[in-house]
């Protein structure tokens, strides 16, 4: 019964989205506040309906109702509660429902929080969001309905893939989807701006919080995914340049570019067309991601069960939505006002350069991701583009970006003084070079590029701090005044500093881990040992460890350094009876910021005794890889809480322009 209520609610949501779109667009053309109110009401109702459908599906998963096809295919009654809940979005159908939930949720939020927007702009935004809702809800209802019943319910479900039964991955999709779909509001805002012919400072100010929120969610989602890959796949790595990873990374890069170009549009009214273009591109890349992940056109370690028909449908949705958006852009963009002029050395120029580099980097990632498809269509040869390509193309562009990054915030708007900027940054540069030199001299084995990378990370962190020091006039004003200024800094400034600092922290971790990681693998009997870096790893014992829906072998491993025990870890190898699949549970030892990463492999029969393949990694500074993006996301949230971004300000501004 509950599943039927859910099905009904889903179809109702589709109808409400149609109403939302129709009412809002009609409100725009007839300038009717009543119709606009109706559209906003429909947006809220559509969200509630999808929420009911989502709750119904979650109920079916929690109670293990195997008469629902999706539950039977993706759940199992022995699964722990957390993973039964997470199973709701663990499959293709369920994740599309989550997508729709986020889409209508953002639509309702835009309708509810947009009170301060000009009426026309708000109506078109809500209407466009409604159209997106119609498209994706229609897809969910007709092509991938998660609430379809089976005529004959099986006694037991087929279980969620064991690798996905993990706390980080249980919460990874909601964050990722909030980020992906958050871009839809930005897209709708861009369409509204084009329809209204209004791209100005106020518009940029409305777009920025949505972009910030989506970007912060996406940052958290990607980081959780990387962390999951790190400790669950047991390969010792955290980023593989896999198509699915790239699919989530491209919208992130574009959103980062958009955040910066929106600042220029907000403060100086410049680059309106470019900002709108990025706003359209961000959601286009989100949809491209949805298509790549689900259609199976690219081989990936993360792909959902492949279904070409759905792929075609998603491709049509992508083409239609992005096509209409960019056609509108081509038609209306030339009529947008050009903003203020700026000198070659200025904050604007620095942000333009940031945008050029970020979009160029996105383009190389896009090309690398799609090249196997292009090549196969052209020559019929199957190829794969792997990490070497991305290291070669993406890394230099990002390096250029990071060299310039600390300079930008220190330049003045309109006309900057490069020499003054250099004067404020020389100490940061000196610190970076000194640290790089120390690392080069002290860390064995000696590695020039690695040391340069560490210097880069320090340069970013010191540069971010230099900007704050400059703002509070540290050492140039009396201490009391600096202190007072420090507390008076707007949250937006703190947000930027945190985001840039987080990037530096990430670079430190990524460079250190990639350059100086040590790997060792050996087949060990009980009592055997291997050495990894300075550490001595002993396999003390192996014991069976039964779990709720799996059987496991658990190793007790002791790690010593110079005869001193530094930690004990318990890596596991689990066999899930439901699918006959095995997974490895990595044993992690934290040594400050570094990890000793232990994987218990399969059992082999040697001549006299059984042996286990044990792999051990020394991953120095690996914690920073995940802490850095967390700081960046925190920066996004802090910036989001800036009162200048609260919509009341925009309203006042609108009243001023009216007066």
């Amino acid at each position: 019964m509950i599943a039927e209520i859910g099905s009904f609610a889903l179809i109702l949501a589709l109808a409400l989205s149609i109403a939302q779109a129709a009412l809002s667009w009609a409100a725009r053309w007839r300038r009717s506040a009543v119709l606009a109110g109706g559209g906003e009401g429909a947006a809220l109702a559509a969200f509630l309906s999808v929420a009911v459908a989502f709750a119904a599906l979650m109920h079916a998963f929690v109670t293990s109702d195997f008469s629902v096809a999706n539950v039977a295919a993706n759940s199992h009654s022995e699964k722990p509660l957390l993973y039964r809940v997470a199973g709701t979005w663990g499959s293709h159908e369920g994740s599309m429902l989550l997508w729709c939930l986020a889409l209508t949720g953002f639509g309702a939020a835009a309708a509810g929080l947009g009170r301060s927007l000009p009426r026309g702009l708000r109506a078109v935004t809500v209407g466009t969001q409604g159209l997106l809702g119609v498209v994706f809800l229609a897809y969910t209802v007709f092509a991938s309905n998660p609430l379809t019943r089976l005529a004959q319910a099986p006694v037991e479900g087929r279980s969620l893939n064991p690798l996905l039964q993990d706390p980080a991955l249980a919460v990874h999709p909601p964050f990722l989807y909030a980020g992906y779909v958050g871009m839809s509001v930005v897209f709708s805002f861009a369409v509204a701006a084009l329809v209204e012919g209004r791209v100005d400072a106020a518009w940029a100010r409305w777009v920025r919080p949505w972009t910030l929120a989506a970007w912060a969610f996406l940052t958290v989602g990607i980081t959780l995914g990387a962390f999951w890959a790190y400790y669950e796949l047991g390969w010792g790595g955290w980023w593989f340049w896999d198509p699915v990873e790239n699919a989530s990374f491209m919208p992130w890069l574009i959103a980062a570019a958009l955040l910066h170009s929106a600042v220029v549009t907000e403060k100086r009214g410049a680059l309106p067309g470019w900002t709108v273009f990025l706003a359209l591109a961000a959601f286009t890349f989100s949809m491209l991601g949805a298509f790549l992940v689900r259609s199976g056109v690219l081989t990936s370690v993360h792909a959902f069960a492949v279904d070409p028909t759905r792929g075609v449908l998603l491709l049509i949705i992508l083409g239609l939505t992005a096509g209409l958006g960019f056609t509108l852009f081509a038609w209306r963009a030339p009529s947008l006002q050009q903003g203020g002029v700026f000198a070659p050395v200025s904050r604007e120029s620095a942000l333009v350069l940031n945008n050029i580099l970020l979009t160029a980097a996105t383009a190389t990632v896009l090309l690398g991701t799609l090249f196997p498809l292009i090549r196969e269509a052209a020559t019929g040869e199957a190829i794969s583009v792997g990490p070497p390509y991305f290291n070669l193309t993406f890394t230099p562009l990002m390096t250029a970006l990071m060299i310039l990054l600390p300079v930008g915030p220190l330049l003045a708007w309109k006309r900057g003084d490069a020499r003054a900027g250099v004067k404020r940054l020389w100490w940061a540069f000196a610190v970076a070079v000194a640290v790089g030199w120390v690392v080069f001299a002290a860390v064995a084995p000696r590695h020039g590029l690695g040391a340069a990378g560490v210097a880069m990370g320090v340069w970013l962190i010191a540069g971010a701090l230099a900007e704050i020091f400059e703002r509070i006039r540290l050492f140039r004003a009396p201490g009391g005044e600096s202190w007072r200024r420090l507390w008076g800094l707007p949250r937006g400034a703190w947000g930027m500093t945190l985001a840039h600092l987080g990037l530096g922290v990430f670079v430190l971790g990524a460079v250190f881990e990639t350059t100086w990681k040590v790997e060792a693998a050996e087949a060990l009997p009980v009592g055997g040992s291997l050495d990894v870096g300075a550490y001595h790893v002993v396999l003390e014992s192996i014991a069976p460890a039964p779990g709720p829906n799996y059987e496991a072998e658990r190793g007790a491993v002791t790690v010593t350094k110079g005869g001193q025990v530094v930690c004990r870890a318990k890596p596991e190898r689990r066999l899930y009876s439901a699918g006959g699949q095995t997974t490895s549970e990595v044993g992690l030892c934290y040594r400050g910021l570094s990890h000793i990463y232990l994987v218990l492999g399969e059992r082999r029969e040697a001549a006299d005794q059984p042996v286990w393949l044990v792999r051990a990694y020394w991953n120095p500074w690996a914690t920073l890889i995940f802490v850095g993006p967390a700081i960046m996301a925190l920066g996004g949230l802090v910036s989001l809480s800036d009162r200048r971004l609260r919509l009341g300000v925009a309203r006042r501004k609108e009243e001023e322009t009216k007066a």
Binding site: A69, N70, A72, S91, H92, E93, A143, S144, N145, P146, N161, L163, L164, G234, L298, T299, V301, H302, A303, F304, A305, D307, V341, P344, S349, V352, L353, I356, L357, A360, A361, T364, L367, G368, F371, R375, A382, I383, S384, V385, G386, P388, Y389, F390, L392, T393, P396, L397, A400, A521, E522, T583, S584, E602, R604, E605, A606, V611, L613, R615
Partner: protein, 165 residues
């Protein structure tokens, strides 16, 4: 600087072009270099026989793991045969096999042929998902008429993910 255009608009355009051009050149150059140099080809054993990739060149070898061919050595080495029913290659791999590695299942081995014709894999991929058949493997097998549809996969799979269709 008198050679600069007079109108501010034209000046800004010139600045933009001056900023974009080197980045674009860098990006295009790196991309072309990367795509010519660091892509790896996918072969099934019979395609590899025809294409004869030079030893040491990184490629991907895909096919089915021949039944009864897997030999696991106690020192951690594994040997198995990857086959597409027309040709087969012996693969050696040092390390832990992926969780879904099975005889009769599709795999992709990433590595290079040694001079003696044995394929030395650096990584072996089978997928997270037991329903999965590597796409290139499926396509190559279909092209060669060696694809038996769902029958090759575990029986319960024919229901697939899509009871909804």
């Amino acid at each position: 600087m008198s050679w600069l255009p007079k109108s501010p608009k034209a000046r800004r355009r010139l600045t933009l072009v001056a900023a974009i051009a080197p980045v674009l050149a860098l990006a295009v150059g790196l991309t072309l270099w990367g795509l010519s140099d660091s892509i790896s080809f996918f072969y099934t054993p019979s395609q590899a026989e025809a294409a004869k990739p030079e030893p040491g060149r990184s490629i991907q070898l895909g096919g089915l793991v021949a039944a009864g061919s897997v030999v696991k050595h106690p020192d951690g080495r594994v040997e198995f045969t990857v086959t597409d029913q027309q040709a087969s290659d012996r693969v050696v791999f040092q390390g832990d096999l992926p969780d879904l590695f099975r005889e009769g299942q599709g795999v992709v081995a990433i590595g290079a042929f040694r001079a003696d014709g044995v394929f030395e894999a650096k990584r072996v991929l089978a997928k997270h998902d037991e329903r999965y058949m590597p796409r290139e493997v499926e396509k190559a097998l279909k092209d060669q008429g060696e694809w038996y549809g769902d029958g090759q996969r575990p029986e319960h799979v024919s229901k697939g993910s899509g009871a909804a269709e």
